[in-house]
Symmetry: D2
Subunit: 420 residues, 4 copies
Amino acid sequence: MRSPIPDYLTEVLDVCGGDGSGELAAYIPELAQADPDRFALALATVDGATYAVGDADVAFSIQSISKPFAYALALAEHGLDAVLEKVGVEPSGDAFNELSLEIGTGRPFNPMINAGALTVHALIDDETVRRGFSAFAGRDLELDEEVFTSELETADRNRAIAFMLRSHGIVEKDAQEVVEGYTRQCSLLVTVRDLALMAATLANGGVHPVSGERVVPREVTRQVMAVMATCGMYDAAGDWFTSVGIPAKSGVAGGLIGALPGQAGLATFSPRLDRHGNSVRGVQVFERLSHDMGMHLMEVPPPARSLVRGRTELPGGKTGHGWAYELQGSVNFVGMERVLRYLTEEPPTEAAVVLDLTRVHEVRDVGRRMLLEAVRRLVQDGHDVTLVDPEDMLEAFPDDHADGDLDAGDGIEVPVVRHR
Amino acid sequence: MRSPIPDYLTEVLDVCGGDGSGELAAYIPELAQADPDRFALALATVDGATYAVGDADVAFSIQSISKPFAYALALAEHGLDAVLEKVGVEPSGDAFNELSLEIGTGRPFNPMINAGALTVHALIDDETVRRGFSAFAGRDLELDEEVFTSELETADRNRAIAFMLRSHGIVEKDAQEVVEGYTRQCSLLVTVRDLALMAATLANGGVHPVSGERVVPREVTRQVMAVMATCGMYDAAGDWFTSVGIPAKSGVAGGLIGALPGQAGLATFSPRLDRHGNSVRGVQVFERLSHDMGMHLMEVPPPARSLVRGRTELPGGKTGHGWAYELQGSVNFVGMERVLRYLTEEPPTEAAVVLDLTRVHEVRDVGRRMLLEAVRRLVQDGHDVTLVDPEDMLEAFPDDHADGDLDAGDGIEVPVVRHR
Amino acid sequence: MRSPIPDYLTEVLDVCGGDGSGELAAYIPELAQADPDRFALALATVDGATYAVGDADVAFSIQSISKPFAYALALAEHGLDAVLEKVGVEPSGDAFNELSLEIGTGRPFNPMINAGALTVHALIDDETVRRGFSAFAGRDLELDEEVFTSELETADRNRAIAFMLRSHGIVEKDAQEVVEGYTRQCSLLVTVRDLALMAATLANGGVHPVSGERVVPREVTRQVMAVMATCGMYDAAGDWFTSVGIPAKSGVAGGLIGALPGQAGLATFSPRLDRHGNSVRGVQVFERLSHDMGMHLMEVPPPARSLVRGRTELPGGKTGHGWAYELQGSVNFVGMERVLRYLTEEPPTEAAVVLDLTRVHEVRDVGRRMLLEAVRRLVQDGHDVTLVDPEDMLEAFPDDHADGDLDAGDGIEVPVVRHR
Amino acid sequence: MRSPIPDYLTEVLDVCGGDGSGELAAYIPELAQADPDRFALALATVDGATYAVGDADVAFSIQSISKPFAYALALAEHGLDAVLEKVGVEPSGDAFNELSLEIGTGRPFNPMINAGALTVHALIDDETVRRGFSAFAGRDLELDEEVFTSELETADRNRAIAFMLRSHGIVEKDAQEVVEGYTRQCSLLVTVRDLALMAATLANGGVHPVSGERVVPREVTRQVMAVMATCGMYDAAGDWFTSVGIPAKSGVAGGLIGALPGQAGLATFSPRLDRHGNSVRGVQVFERLSHDMGMHLMEVPPPARSLVRGRTELPGGKTGHGWAYELQGSVNFVGMERVLRYLTEEPPTEAAVVLDLTRVHEVRDVGRRMLLEAVRRLVQDGHDVTLVDPEDMLEAFPDDHADGDLDAGDGIEVPVVRHR
C-alpha cells in the first residue's frame, strides 16, 4: 500500500499553490533574489516519521524561525527566571512602540520580536546556537555566507535595538557583536524537512524524534510553545491563534513552522510574504491542515469510552471473593475521575479488588497519581488490592518480566502481576 | 471509598488560603463591601461530575467572566465573520490606549476588554443573555439588583466607551441602553459551581455536561477558548498563558474560570484582587492545579503505546489466508500515521486483511478519515478488508447489534463485524 | 485719501481665493450644507479700528474657536491654579491617544482639544459663556439652532469624552448636560468681524477695543494666547508656530483667528478644510499676512534709535550747572539698559541732572522701574535730579497740569516738571 | 553711578540660590562629578552689553543647548525645506515613543530631541559646528576631552537612535561617526557669558552683538527661536511657554538659555536638575526674570502714544498752504494704521502735506511700506507731499546729509528734507 499521507500533503500544496500574491522580503538584497515560486511542505511526527513534498530539498535561511529555538537554548542554559528578567512573554503590537521595549525597564516584550531575540542571542554564545540548532535538526546546519553578509549590511535597525538594549542594561555584550551573532543565527540554512524535525523536537518534549537526543528539557518546550502560541506570528498573533490554533513561527525567507505538542512538527516554505511578513501560501497551508486534521489546540475531541471497561466478579481463589475492574484507554484526569466516582458511588463489597490495566494504552502523570491514591484508599478501607499491568504501564519495575510490589505511599505496598 | 478529589481540592484551598494580600475592587461601592475572606473552588468534568469546596454556595456577581459567554452567544447568533467585523481577537496592552480601540476603525481589540464586551453585548439582546447564561449554567440565574444599581452609578467609563463605539459606527444601539444591558449582564449572580459548569460547557464543545443541552455550536467554543487563552487575563495574558496554560477569564468580584477542552471546567472565588484586577488566591489555585495536574495546554504527554498492538496470521478460513491487525488506544493522527507507516513498510502479503478495533477507546475525526483511506487503498491493492468493531467506534451503523458494510469512498464498501 | 488697508486685504483675498481644495466638515450634517465658496477676512486693531472684506457679514458657527474664549472665562472665574488642576497646557498629538488624556490622572492635555474644552466648559455655566462671548465680540451673539441640533445628534464622540472625564473625576457635572452646553457654545453665530474683535480683545489685554469693557484680566490673556501659540492649530501646532508665528485657533465651520499681543486681532472664514481640519484658504491668508506684515512673533525687529537722544549742558540757572539728557522712543528694558550704561560709563560731572521724557512715546513697566532706580541712585550719588515729563508718561500724577514730586523709593522724591 | 543691573541679577541669584533640590545628571560619569552648588547668570543685550554674576567664569559642557545652534547652522547651510525633510518641528511627548520618530517615515519630531539633534548634526560637519559655535559665542570654544570621552562611553542610547535613523534613511553618514561628532558638539566648553552672547546672537537676528559678525541669516533665527519656544524644554514645553514665555533650551550639564527677539540673550548655570532634566534653579531664575521684567512673549504692552503727535497748519511758504503732521514713536503696523485712519477720516484740505518723522525712533518694515503707500495715495489725490526725516529713519539715502527724492512706487517721487 502506498501511504496516503504524501498524497494528502501534495494535494494541499496543489490547492494552495495557486495564490501568487505577496512580495519577497525587499529589505535584504539577498532574499529579494529568491525564487518566489518555491513551495514545500514537511511533517515530522514525534516518533520519527518524516514526510516532505514540493521543493523539500531547497535550503533557505532560517531567519526569525530561529527565535523559538534560541529561546529554548537560553532557557535550557539559564533557567526560566533568569531569562524572564531580560525578556518578557507578553504579546506586543508594534504599531505603538517601534522597539517593543517595556517603558521604563527597557525589557523586550517577548522573545519573538527582534528586541527579544537579540537579547536572547546575547545570553548564549554562537557555538551554542550552531550546535543546538543542529541538534534540533538532527544534522549539522551550514551558514549561508551571502545572506549573512547581505543581511549584516542592512542590519541598522537591529543595531539600533541592540544599542538601545545596552543603554537599558538588558544586553551587556558588545552591541555590534550581538547583531553579528544574531545575523549569523538567522542565516543558518535549513530545508522544510529540517524545520519539521526541529518543530517535532519541541512537540516531542525536547527529544529529537529520530536521533533520540535530548536537546532541551521538557519544561523548556512547554514555555517555548506557549510563547509561540501567543507571540509567534507577526502582527496577527490573536488572529492566528483563533483561526489556526497551532503554536507557530514564521521567517522572512518564507519559512513557517508549527508544533503540535505530543503529535508532530510542521513546516512550509514559500517566499512571498503578506503585509505582516508571513508567508502567504504557508499561512494557507496551515489553515487547511488545521481545519482538515482538527489540529486546533482548542478543538474539543469527541467523548472517549469510559476508562472503566467493566467489572467482573472474582471467583474465590487466591485473592478471595472480590471484584476485578478492567480499565481501558487513557489513564488521565478525566478517565480516572470517572473511575474514582465509580469506586465511590458503588464501592466494592468484597475484600479483593483487582485493577486490570491490560487494555490501557496511555498513563498520564496525573492519572498515575490518582490511580495510586485510589489504591491507597482502598487498602485503607480494608481491601486487598492487586494491579494487573502486563506491559508495565505504571513503570513500576526496572525488570520487565517479574511481578512485584508497588509503593502506593503511606507505607502501603500493593502487588502487581504482569499477567492477567 | 471516599473520593480523593474533594480532599485534593480542599488541600489546594488550604495551601493557597494563607495569602491575605490584594484589595477588593474599590470603584464599585457594592463590591467593596464583599467579605474578603470568602474562598471557593469548583471543578466540573465534561461528563457531568461536579466537585465544589470552600464557600461554594456563596453567590457573587459574574462581572467580566460574562464576557466569553456573551461572546459565545453573539458568535452563535451572528456567525464568526459578522462578529469579527465588530470586534477583533488581538491581545492588547491597555497602557498605550485607554480605550483599546484600533486606530482608525475604532474596532475594539478583543471581546475580553470592556470595549469589546460592550460591542458584543450590543449584538445580542438582554433576554438572550439571561437565557443563554442560564443554559450555560444549567439553572436560572438571578440578577443582583444592588450590584446592578451600584455599578450603573459608576459606569461612566463604560458609557464613555459606548459613546465612542457609537461615534465609530461599531455600536448602533442607544449607548446608555447598551451600558445598562451590559451592567445587567455583569450583575448576574453565580456560584463557583455555576461557573465551573459554564466553563465545562465550553470545554465540552458547547453541550452542558449535566443537562445535555447544546448551548452553542462546537466551533463557537473553539473560538471562545482561543480568545480566552490569549486575551482572558487582565494585563498579563502572555504571563498567564506561559505559566498556567489554561484558557481563563477573571472578574472583579473575585471569580476566575478556566476551560480545559475535552476535560473540565474550573472556577474559583476569592475577592481580593492583584494590581491587574485578577483574584490573588484564584491565580494561585490555578497555578497549583496546572502544575499538579499537568493541565498546561503545551504540556507534552508521555508517549502512548503504538496504535498497532500486533499482527497475527489468519487461518485460511472464511477470509482466506491473511493478516489480522489489532489496534488499541486512540485512533488519532499520530496513531494512524504509525498504522499507515506499518502497512506501507510491511504490506500484507496475503489477500485477507482484518483491522480489529476491539481495543480502541477513542476515534478522532482525522483518525477515522485516515483509517477509511487506508481501507480504500488496501481494497484498491486487491485485498479483502474486514473491520472488527464490536462497540461501533466508527459510528458506522444506527443499529448497534447488526453487522454490515461501511462506505469507504469511491464506491468501496467493506464489511464490518461486531464481534471478534 | 482712501485707506490702503481694505485694498490690501482685498488683494490678499484675491490671491488666496483661487485655491478650491479641501472639504467641508462632513460629520456634522448642517455644516456639510454650507456654501464652500464663502471667503472673508477681518482685522481689528487694539485701538478699535475694524476692517473687513469679502463675505464679512455672513454668520457661521464659532465651533472650536470658542475654546480659547471659554478658557479665558474659566481662568477669570477660577484662577490659573484651579484650572490647571483640571486641564494641562501641553501640546498633544492625537495619533497616539484618541482621548488626549494624561495616562493615570485623566487630565486633558490642553484646553484646545475637545477633552480640554469640555472640561473648561464644565467649569463655567452656559450664561457665563453667552454673556462672556458677547462681551468679547461687543454685541449679543445668537445661537444657530439648526447647527446646535444637528451637532448634538452627532456628538457621540464628545459624549464619550465627557463620560470618560467624569470617570476620572475631572468633570463632576452631568456628562450629557456638559456636552449639550458645549455644543451650544460651539453653535454661537459669529462673523469675521466679531471674531477679529474677539481676538483683538485678547490682543488688547482683555479690554474690548471698541466698547472699552474689561472682559477678562490682563494676565488671563497672556495665558490664553500662549496656549493658542502651542496648541491652537489641529495636529500641526509646531508647523504653524514656525511658519506663521501667530497665536491662533481654527474651527470646523471654516473660521480661523489670530491674536497679535498689543497689535490686532485677525479672522478669516472659508469653509473648505484641509486634512487637519484647518481652513485651507484661511491658513494661506495667515501665511501671507504673517510674511507681508512681519507679524511672526519671533521676527527680530530692526534696531531702534538709542533711547538717549542727547546730552546737553545746562546753564547755571535754577538747577545749577548740570546736564540734561533727552530720552526718546520706548522706555523699555533694552532702551533703559542703554541709558543706565551711558550714565554708568560717563557719569554726570555736575550736580544737576535733568531727564527729559518729552520725546518718549511709550513707557513699559520694566522701563519705568529701571528709570526710577536710576533716579534713586543718582540722588544717592548726590545729584539733584529733575524729570521733565510734559505728557505724564510716568503716570505720576492724577492732575494733568501741575508739576509735583515723584516718589522714587527709599524716601527719595524728585521734582517733575510738565514743561520743558 | 553704579548700574543697578548687576545688583538686580545678583539679587535674583540670592533669592533663587536657596533651593538645593534636584540631582546631578547621573548617567554621564564626568557630569556626576560637577560641583552642584555652582550658580551663575548672564545677560547680553542685542547691542552688545553683557552682565554676568555668580560663577560666571566657570566653564561647563554645552550639552543639549548645542541643539538650537547646530539647527541654525544646518538651516543656514541647507535651507529650511531640505532640513524639514529630515527633521520636523512638532512638539513630542517622549512617554509614548521612546525614539520620538514619526511612525512610518522615521523622521524625528523636532530638532530639540536627541533623534532630531543627531539628524541635524549629520547634516553639517564637525568643523562647521566648532567654527559656527565659536562665531555664535564670539570666541574660540574648546572641547572638554574628559566629558567627551565619558559621554561617548555611555552613548549607547544615541547610537541606538543613530542606527534607527540610518535604517529609515534619515541619516546617511556612518552612525558611529555621527554619534561621535554629536558627542563632541555636546562637549564644547562654555560659560554663562558665552551662552548669553550665543542667545543674544539669535535674538539679534543672527548678528553677534559684539563682533558684529553675521553668523546665520535673519530668517534662520526666526525658525530656531520658534522651535525653541515650542520644543525647547524637556517634557514640559507647554508649561514653560505659558509660565515663562521665553524661547529657551536647557542642557544636562546645568545650563539654560533664553532668547528674547530684538532684546537680549539670557543664560544660567546650576547643575542640579529636576525630573525633566532641566536645571532647578535655572528654571526659577527664568520665571523670576520673566515676571519681573515682563519678558513673556504674550505680554500685552501698555498702550503707546498715538503715532500722530499733532497736525499744524503750514504758512503759505514754499510748500503753499497745507498741513504738517508730526509723527512720533514707532512706525509699525499699529501706528501707521492710526495715521492712515486719521488721513482717511479727516483728509487734508489743502494741497501741501508735510509728514515730519523727526520724533520717530523706530521704523518697522511694514510701517515703512504703509507710509510710502500713504504718500503715494496722497500724491495721487493731488497733494504735494514732503517728508521731513532728519535722521534718515526711512533709509532713503546713502548720503546722510543731503536732501533728495524718495521713490514711493508707481513713478511717484517725493522730496525728503533732512531738517525740520
